[in-house]
């Protein structure tokens, strides 16, 4: 059962061991990406830095961030990938963002459309082919919008996809826009998120009116409906009385995205991928955002209460408390059963740009100790909070991709005056338009590792012997081959949803499954000494 955790000194030694395992230059670099919470002389963590060639990280590219993450889930648009065949194929439903067609509408997520550039297109340019491909997509699939995204060669050969998209929009009378998210841009998928947010702001947001506004209209940002996450929290929000105008962008319609400025509050789940858009919404429409987290029971309840506090409506607050009370009472016995089974287990969370934070409280609610957490592609503010934003030195592509600077849209009436907003923020303890980052919520004596690579994964598993390691498919089998159970927190290992009250139970069940399955006991055969290499 629970062992006493490592002391901060021991963890610092482990960190030194990792750093020493590299050639000098690489070691110096990695030193800045690893921190021990509670270690007094720790400098700020480095993040969003260049990937070291030959170090096997789990990071993706700008295309993966733009098309794969932000633009891909828009259900009634077709994503047309301009490039050779691979990138569209690899991003073909691989992120498990689910969608159901709206009544009378369509979902094109099953489609993977590409110009499949050939050598001739690389040499002579692919604009004509792209134009023809857009026409075909329009003619055959007739989506509500066509989104063109670029892969590596496009920027190199200078195909002007923005101009082709503009021409196509004029010719076909359907929304066509593009994202120059060539894979070589930036240091990871992160820059792709930013490129996609800018494209949405420029071409979609605010292009339609919301016909029937209600006082409790909200948007959910950074919710991609992985494994149905949206569908788990949506009924809870609706029961309380909220209406979701749009998500950004899980199960979203391009029309909902367009009408989103008319909501009263943006709640923000995945800070990393879409905080650019929430900021631009605030600049342009005076629409404030609130960082919430509906993974974990306490966090869901806290988020719902803060939302109710924002709207300040008595009835809403009562309804919120009633729903929280009902839901908690309903799932408490089962949560308790799982908590007893998982008490003291050591869990590692290495995922995403926000999820390693989101899943911490839930893990703790289940009695587990988070011994290591880290992000693949986060920035420093995801670790240390937005107060350090001004200190981040812009480098590489982050210099090139900037937020579009919006003034308040003329004639647009923000939901709250500045004075009202200030008062709200006071009531919310300054939480509006802010994110405290992951580190402040972590316990002393936990390791924080940014952009973990395969070599370090192995090392850290040997040193800290976790009971379960949560990451993605590229690490999963490494971890399992080492005899440690693993769950994917990108795809949820084809389970989920993990959000809200029911999602907490599903997560508990899945982690319990991982640590309780009898299968791992068989790694050591009965005729071998059972002490060796086997923690069971």
């Amino acid at each position: 059962m629970a062992e006493p955790g490592k002391t901060i000194e021991e963890l610092c030694e482990i960190k030194e061991k990792i750093v020493a395992s590299y050639p000098d230059k690489v070691g110096k670099n990695r030193d800045k990406h690893i921190q021990v919470k509670g270690c007094t002389d720790a400098p700020s963590i480095d993040a969003n830095a260049k990937t070291i060639p030959g170090i096997i990280t789990t990071r993706g590219c700008a295309f993966a961030g733009a098309k794969g993450v932000v633009l891909g889930p828009i259900k009634d648009a077709v994503n047309l990938v301009h490039g050779p065949v691979g990138c569209s194929y690899y991003s073909w439903l691989t992120r498990r963002n689910l969608a159901r067609p709206a009544e009378g509408g369509q979902s094109f997520l099953q489609y993977c459309c590409t110009t499949d550039m050939q050598e001739g297109d690389i040499v002579f340019g692919g604009e004509k082919k792209l134009m023809q491909a857009i026409r075909e997509v329009h003619e055959i699939l007739a989506p509500e919008a066509i989104i063109v995204s670029a892969t590596c060669p496009v920027g190199l050969i200078g195909d002007d996809i923005a101009s082709v998209s503009r021409q196509a929009e004029e010719e076909l009378g359907v929304k066509v826009f593009s994202a120059n998210c060539e894979g070589y841009k930036g240091v990871s998928q992160s820059v792709g998120h930013h490129i996609a947010c800018n494209a949405l702001m420029e071409h979609v947001v605010g292009t339609e009116e919301l016909g029937d506004p209600t006082p409790l209209d909200i948007n959910i940002f950074g919710e991609y409906n992985i494994g149905g996450d949206l569908w788990s929290i949506e009924p809870v929000l609706e029961r309380i009385g909220y209406r979701i105008v749009s998500t950004y962008t899980g199960d979203a319609s391009v029309h909902d995205l367009a009408r989103a400025p008319h909501a009263k509050l943006n709640i923000l789940m995945c800070h990393r991928s879409i905080n650019y858009a929430t900021k631009m919404f605030n600049d342009r429409y005076g629409l404030p955002w609130l960082k919430i987290n509906y993974v974990g029971i306490e966090e869901t309840a806290r988020s719902l209460r803060e939302m109710a506090c924002f709207f300040g409506d008595e009835e809403l607050m009562e309804k919120t408390e009633a729903v929280i009370g009902e839901e908690m009472a309903r799932i408490a016995p089962e949560m308790e059963r799982y908590r007893q089974r998982l008490e003291g287990k050591k869990i590692m969370l290495f995922v995403g740009g926000s999820r390693a934070h989101h899943f911490q409280r839930l893990s703790e609610e289940l009695g587990m100790n988070v011994v290591m957490a880290g992000y693949e592609f986060a920035h420093r503010d995801d670790y240390e909070g937005r107060q350090i934003l001004s200190q981040i030195r812009k480098k590489g592509m982050s210099k090139v991709v900037q937020d579009i600077q919006y003034e308040l849209e003329p004639g647009f009436k923000p939901p709250l005056s500045e004075a009202e907003l200030e008062e709200k923020n006071r009531q919310l303890g300054g939480h509006l338009l802010d994110y405290e980052g992951m580190i402040s919520h972590m316990k002393e004596g936990a390791l924080i590792m940014n952009d973990l690579n395969h070599h370090e994964t192995e090392l850290i598993i040997r040193e800290l012997e976790p009971d379960v390691f949560c990451s993605g498919i590229k690490d999963k089998y490494v971890v399992e081959k080492m005899g440690v159970p693993s769950r994917q927190l990108h795809s949820y290992d084809y389970s989920g949803p993990y959000t809200g009250f029911d999602g907490a139970l599903t997560f508990a069940r899945d982690i319990d499954m991982a640590v309780s399955t009898p299968t791992i006991r068989f790694i050591t055969p009965p005729w071998k000494d059972t002490e060796a290499d086997c923690d069971a």
Binding site: G54, C87, Y184
Partner: protein, 456 residues
């Protein structure tokens, strides 16, 4: 018939560097580095891991804007150094991507510079392969990698030295991209004939490994460097799959450069093509067919007789790489199933010709789709009133749409487990396919029986 549109909707092919990653995985102690942006390595690792459920480490030179403009040689060298420092591979494949190819990086020169700067790197076989994603598909990358490996490592000196030692009964086998279960079967066949063999690539262990007490970063198994160096001393080379151009044939390369006679055969799926394989082994080694395989063949024919009543006249759609489709078409024709659509994202005049010959005597001529996508395959499957689909997981949307079963074979299979353990080849593989196919059709029929469950 070629694709009906300029755009590709739901592609039926995978990109070229993926094939290099798969091929190098079958060499002992090897690693691959993709010269390109970080995303390629991540996407390909994801796609290989998803099918095999194994760790797949692929390094990247992680090019960004600066290298896209000024060239990526320094990143490539640093990447190789870091992979060598942390993985100590015996063989390192360096495959290009569309980024590296478009900017025109000279990989050979960068490697030469590296060897100059770090002479200790000469102990490692660093093998570059050009795999631009905008040309061909993953089997091109796969075959090119096999050729590059042999070209680099099988030398004439080794070959002469070995002939001196009087080695006989040694075969080179180039199986193409088969499942680990297939490779294990072929190894048993070789052993059954009393042959020593070199299989390139040999993914039987590296992409279907057990959990052992000690985790090894580069999985055990694969064709050994020592064996590859001896390729020139083999009695003959047998290559499975013959629809790729001759320049992509490792067997022909060895014949040309080291005088090892080459036999190129179709993938031995189904009875007819399995017969070709066994005949070829018997003839190049001068040994009769071992009793075991005579029995295996007998069992297969017996099963085919049993199954014919469920299969005859059923209408099947087959899709995948050209060699895979041709072999499956042959198998279907032999068991009385009517192939109605034979489709590939690839092309080649040999492919069409082979299919035409294979299906010449059938009651119905199938629609042959080349350079196609799943959008066209869906259209033609519906038009042909198909009873079932055979191929990778990517046909699942069509299967749902048309309410017909999909028999998952080949690669990638990511919505079922066990893709790496499907035995496709030889008499045993044919038997396996026959059982899967037959039971799938029976299950479908039972589902729809108006009077409930019945003996079949």
């Amino acid at each position: 018939m070629a694709k009906s549109s300029v755009s590709t909707t739901n592609a039926c092919k995978l990109c070229r560097p993926l094939g290099a990653c798969l091929a190098f995985r079958g060499i002992e102690g090897s690693m691959v580095l993709l010269h390109g942006s970080q995303g390629c390595s991540t996407y390909m690792r994801r796609y290989i891991s998803g099918h095999f459920r194994e760790p797949v480490d692929i390094a990247s030179s992680a090019l960004s804007e600066t290298q896209a403009v000024y060239g990526g040689a320094e990143n490539l060298k640093q990447g190789i150094r870091n992979v060598v420092a942390k993985y100590a591979p015996a063989v390192l494949g360096v495959a290009t991507t569309c980024l590296a190819e478009t900017i025109g990086d000279d990989v050979g020169m960068a490697i030469a510079e590296l060897l100059e700067e770090d002479p200790e790197m000469r102990a490692i076989e660093i093998i570059p392969v050009s795999t631009p994603s905008y040309s061909g598909g993953y089997m091109d990358g796969f075959r090119d990698s096999c050729v590059a490996i042999l070209e680099k490592m099988a030398s004439a000196e080794q070959s002469r030295a070995d002939q001196g030692s009087g080695r006989i009964g040694r075969l080179n086998l180039f199986p193409g991209f088969l499942s680990p279960a297939d490779i294990r079967y072929l190894k048993l066949v070789m052993a059954g004939f009393g042959l020593e063999s070199m299989i390139v690539p040999d993914i039987s262990e590296t992409l279907d490994a057990g959990i052992g007490p000690v985790f090894s970063r580069i999985p055990a198994g694969g064709a050994s460097v020592k064996d590859i160096r001896l390729a020139g001393s083999a009695t003959a080379s047998i290559e499975l799959g013959l629809l790729n151009p001759a320049g992509q044939s490792a067997a022909l390369l060895l014949e040309r450069s080291l005088g090892v006679p080459a036999r190129r055969l179709p993938i031995p799926m189904g009875i007819r093509y399995s017969d070709l394989l066994f005949e070829a082994i018997c003839s190049v080694t001068g040994t009769p067919l071992p009793e075991k395989y005579q029995q295996e063949r007998g069992r297969l024919v017996d099963a085919m007789v049993d199954a014919h009543k469920y299969l005859f006249g059923k209408r099947a759609v087959v899709y995948g790489e050209p060699d895979f489709v041709a072999a499956l078409t042959c198998f279907l024709a032999d068991v009385g199933v009517q192939p109605v659509v034979c489709a590939s994202g690839g092309d080649g005049p040999e492919f069409r010709k082979t299919l035409e010959v294979l299906t010449r005597d059938l009651d119905e001529t199938p629609e042959i789709l080349v350079e196609t996508d799943f959008s066209d395959i869906r259209f033609h499957s519906r038009a042909a009133a198909a009873d079932l689909l055979i191929g990778s997981s990517k046909g699942n949307h069509i299967a749902r749409d048309l309410d017909i079963p999909l028999v998952r074979l080949g690669y990638p299979i990511h919505d079922r487990i066990g893709g790496q353990r499907i035995l496709h080849v030889g008499y045993a593989g044919a038997l396996n396919l026959l059982d899967i196919l037959t039971n799938t059709l029976i299950a479908k029929e039972q589902e729809h029986l108006g009077y409930g469950y019945s003996y079949m």
